[in-house]
């Protein structure tokens, strides 16, 4: 066989075929490379999606944690978590199961709080770990959601985040069904989201704990502040109590001092006053000795006032309230007021006829009136007007006094047009020994006024402005009965004077004898009995109260055995236990030492006017009061 030479056309065809094949291979390779490139980019895109989702959630969690503050309510925190979950998963519904002390509630996906919480959901939330499942996997949970308005399909994704502790919110639950409007970037909850759900649950739990702690801290702070306030009040109370105690101790000291000297002092003053009066009475009207005697009387009067005030304030002087008409008191005061206040001050008196009587110690009310007038005088060195009025208390005055408007009080008002009271001094004016008069004042005047008024269960109101005058309104409860009208009695009666102090006994006898009474003296109770047994026609017993062997009441009791219906006038310059307010019989009266002859004669006359009592004589308990 012979070999044939290759056909050039065939060779070209073959070459071209090879080239085509090579080109096809290159194209296929290019297609493969393009496909590989695009597939790789697609894979990267998916990975980037997932990384971006994770990053977004981490950022959202971080922002959620950073935004937490103790100022939020539990519902606010859960609402924020709900909104976050909606954005993450585009869920249909987020339920907050809230079973704290405020009750139950749930919030929908849009964060709007609603009422009620399905009890079965509460039970589900009591689990420990977050749960992600479908409702088909939690068949009993379907019963839960059927209680809701929107019933999800069984295939709905369902997640529960237990958040709570024994005290607070139990959990968040969310479910999701296919939502065509949800973003491509969101996805339904699935088990792969458990780490994020757990983290979110932790953040919410911490937020709730922070809120609770903040609330507790605030409550504690508030309670602490209240305790501090109470403590301050207590301290102030203790301080006031200390001050009152110190004041009481001071008063006690004054009382002891005053009481200690009062008896002797008053006895001395009685003798001085009585004898000076007798001397003055005996002196001719034009005698030059009058100028010597009158200062004695004046000094003795002032000494008596001072002693009286000390005793009054220290309450060592017994109060003897009686029913009085204040207009009568004021009228009598007005007769001597001009001497007290001077001619440069005009006195204006007014009375309201509607006022009734009050029950107050006459001596004390006189003293209070005197003190107020003295202060008014000192407040008007250049003259002015002193107004004294009596009237029923107004509603406003009752309100200021803290009394019901239905009560009836009588007002004794003393007002001046003087310098008024400095605001700083106003709170202290009733404190004992506080004075704005330097050495001229004792500091007892207004303290006594208040004591007198309070003794009568009344109130003192003050209205004063610097340079605007001062008004003191003394409010006394109106008594229900009119005062008894005193009347005089004829003289020439037989009187037994029992007094262990010779000077007093002799002075008293002298005053009574001069007035025409038939007087017999006795130094002791024993002597008095002897006088009675001697057949002396006795109309009145005038006796000291505190004596060495027998007290005055004991003497009276013994004498009444012989002379039933014997009227008695007790004399005393000191508080005594043997005779207390209310223990005076209807046929007995009391005269406080020191006294002037007029006062003695007035009381004797009043005692003689008493109707002899048929009350059987009762011997007071045996008491040997030591003479102070």
């Amino acid at each position: 066989m012979s070999e044939r030479a290759p056909d050039p056309d065939d060779q070209e065809i073959a070459r071209l075929r090879r080239e085509v094949a090579e080109l096809r291979a290159e194209n296929d390779d290019l297609d493969g490379q393009v496909s590989l490139l695009v597939k790789t980019e697609h894979r990267l895109t998916r990975a980037q999606f997932e990384a971006d989702r994770q990053l977004s959630r981490v950022r959202a969690l971080s922002s959620f944690a950073l935004a937490s503050s103790g100022d939020e309510s539990a519902l606010d925190i859960a609402g924020r978590a709900a909104r976050l979950l909606v954005e993450w998963f585009s869920v249909d519904r987020v339920v907050l199961v809230h079973v704290d002390e405020e009750g139950q509630g749930w919030t929908s996906g849009d964060g709007v709080p609603r009422a009620r919480a399905p009890s079965a959901l509460v039970e589900l939330c009591r689990g420990v770990d977050p749960v992600v499942a479908t409702l088909a996997e939690l068949p009993w949970a379907i019963a839960v959601v059927t209680a809701e308005d929107a019933r999800p399909a069984a295939e709905t994704a369902f997640a529960v985040l237990p958040l709570g502790d024994s005290r607070g919110v139990v959990g968040l639950a969310l479910w999701c069904r296919p939502n065509p409007r949800a973003s491509y970037f969101s996805e339904p909850p699935s088990p792969k989201h458990l780490p994020f759900l757990t983290l979110l649950g932790n953040h919410v739990r911490h937020g709730l704990a922070t809120t609770r702690l903040t609330r507790e801290l605030r409550e504690s702070t508030h309670e602490l502040a209240q305790n501090n306030e109470r403590l301050e009040v207590s301290l102030a109370t203790v301080k006031q109590a200390h001050e009152r105690l110190a004041q009481a101790a001071k008063l006690e000291a004054i009382g002891r001092l005053a009481g200690g000297i009062a008896h002797d002092f008053n006895n001395l003053l009685t003798v001085i006053l009585a004898n000076a009066s007798l001397v003055l009475e005996d002196l001719p009207g034009d005698s030059s000795l009058r100028d010597d005697v009158e200062p004695i009387l004046d000094a003795a009067q002032r000494a008596r006032n001072l002693t009286s005030q000390l005793l009054l304030y220290s309450r060592k002087q017994e109060s003897r309230p009686e029913e009085l008409r204040l207009d009568v008191v004021v009228e009598q005061f007005s007769r001597i007021a001009s001497r007290l206040i001077g001619e440069h001050i005009r006195l204006r008196i007014s009375h309201d006829p509607r006022v009734g009587t009050v029950r107050v110690d006459r001596t004390q009310i006189d003293q209070a009136l005197m003190n107020l007038a003295t202060n008014a005088r000192d407040a008007m060195p250049n003259g002015g007007t002193l107004s004294v009025e009596t009237r029923p208390a107004s509603t406003e005055e009752l309100r200021r006094a803290g009394r019901p408007s239905t009560e009836r009080f009588v007002v004794l008002s003393v007002a001046d047009t003087g310098v008024g009271i400095d605001p700083q001094a106003r709170d202290k004016i009733f404190e004992p020994f506080f004075t704005t008069k330097d050495a001229r004042g004792t500091g007892l005047g207004l303290a006594i006024v208040r004591t007198v008024v309070e003794e009568a269960r009344g109130h003192v109101l003050v209205s004063a402005e610097p340079q605007g005058g001062t008004r003191f309104s003394l409010l006394f409860p109106e008594a229900s009965q009119p005062p008894r009208v005193a009347h005089t009695q004829s003289t020439l009666a037989s009187i037994l004077v029992v007094e262990d102090e010779d000077s007093i006994r002799e002075t008293v006898s002298r005053i009574l004898g001069r007035r025409g009474y038939r007087v017999v003296e006795a130094r002791t109770g024993h002597e008095a009995l002897a006088v009675v047994r001697s057949g002396f026609p006795l109309d009145l017993l005038v006796t000291d109260v505190v004596m060495p062997e027998r007290t005055g009441p004991m003497v009276a009791a013994e004498l009444r055995e012989a002379r039933p219906g014997l009227r008695v006038l007790y004399m005393s310059g000191y508080t005594f236990d043997a005779l207390k307010e209310g223990e005076l019989r209807p046929d007995e009266r009391f005269l406080r030492k020191p006294f002037t002859p007029e006062q003695l004669l007035g009381e004797v006359s009043a005692a003689l006017a008493l109707r002899p009592s048929e009350q059987p004589s009762q011997a007071p308990p045996s008491q040997a009061a030591a003479k102070p």
């Binding site: 290019l30 297609d31 954005e87 996906g109 409007r181 949800a182």
Partner: protein, 394 residues
Amino acid sequence: MSQIAIGQSFLMDSEGATREAWRAAEAGLGRTPQAVLVFATSGYDHDTVARTLAELGPSTVIVGCSAEGVITQGRSDEIDHALGLMAFASDHLTFDGFLVEGYGAEPAQAGTELARQALAVGRAHPLALLVFPDGLSGNCTAFLDALGEGLPKGFPIVGGASADALRMDRTLQLCGTRVRSNAISALLISGPGRAAVSVGHGCRPIGRTRTVTKVTDGWVAELDGKPAWDWFRSYLEGDPQDLRADGIMHLSVGLIEEDDPDGSSVVRTPLLLRKEDGALFFPGGGIVEGSKIRLVRRDPETMRASAAHTAEELLSQGGGRRPELVLQFDCSGRGKLLFGSCAAQEIVEPVQKIVGGDVPWLGFHTYGEIAPLRGRARYHNYTVALLALYPPEA
């Protein structure tokens, strides 16, 4: 003088969000807005949004659409609940709103009708027509061609295709209290001044040219005689059975035209898959049997450079002046899908820095951008389209 103010809200409640955004915008204006442009993401009930706006401003012109995300100064919010609105109050601008239905079935007819309505209002100095067609139906190329023919040549037509949350389910267009799908909403801005438009691309063609061999009603069924979905799917990871957003973003094609032989200027992206025959729907239109296409690849570097150039171009058209407002229509595929949570820093802020960080700025992530190219309005994908309004020159 014109006053422009922006309001936005991220509240979940539709009415509450609308009121919040309105209050902010109204406060910025100091008076009731003359017109409002509103873009809201798919978490909202757009009927409620429209109704609330109408209640707040009974005489206010209201135009807007659903969006994949909302763009404002320094922000790009591609979330379920983001609402942004631009409020206008001007003594020299007028605003007319339009809503043309039937776009999905007869896009060209809708374009003709919109042109007719726009001309019918008889504005002496129309500045720009903003259009927001349904992003998942119709044929935007046919619509724009018909619209362009009905309006003066070269008249600026700008806008974006309405979008949803990348679920490719339904988009909405609103005008007044009317909220529709398969429709077009539009806002005509008229008055003295100047409208500047710029568009920037960011794709590079890759691979061989293919020939479209079968198209029915806008659905591309075959390429080179083979089922279209088989070809597209071969580029995706994991042999997917469905077309999802993460795949869509890798399957865009460039149209090879006489004046664009490499196919980098006019990009089309398939948004829907018909599983029965593997056909893909390109709402942008413009693809017919015989069309030559190439796969295009997103290029972040090109995108950044192009965006910067677009901003500079916008400024140069205004002679370097500060614009009264800027509207930004940016592709949904260029935001979170491409840059994740850094979208605002990557595609929004750089442009705003060039144009002005204090200029009233509103935009949305679209399913297609609409802006002029080589003398006529075109539909684009993977682009940014910017519209700036400049006040009349003194």
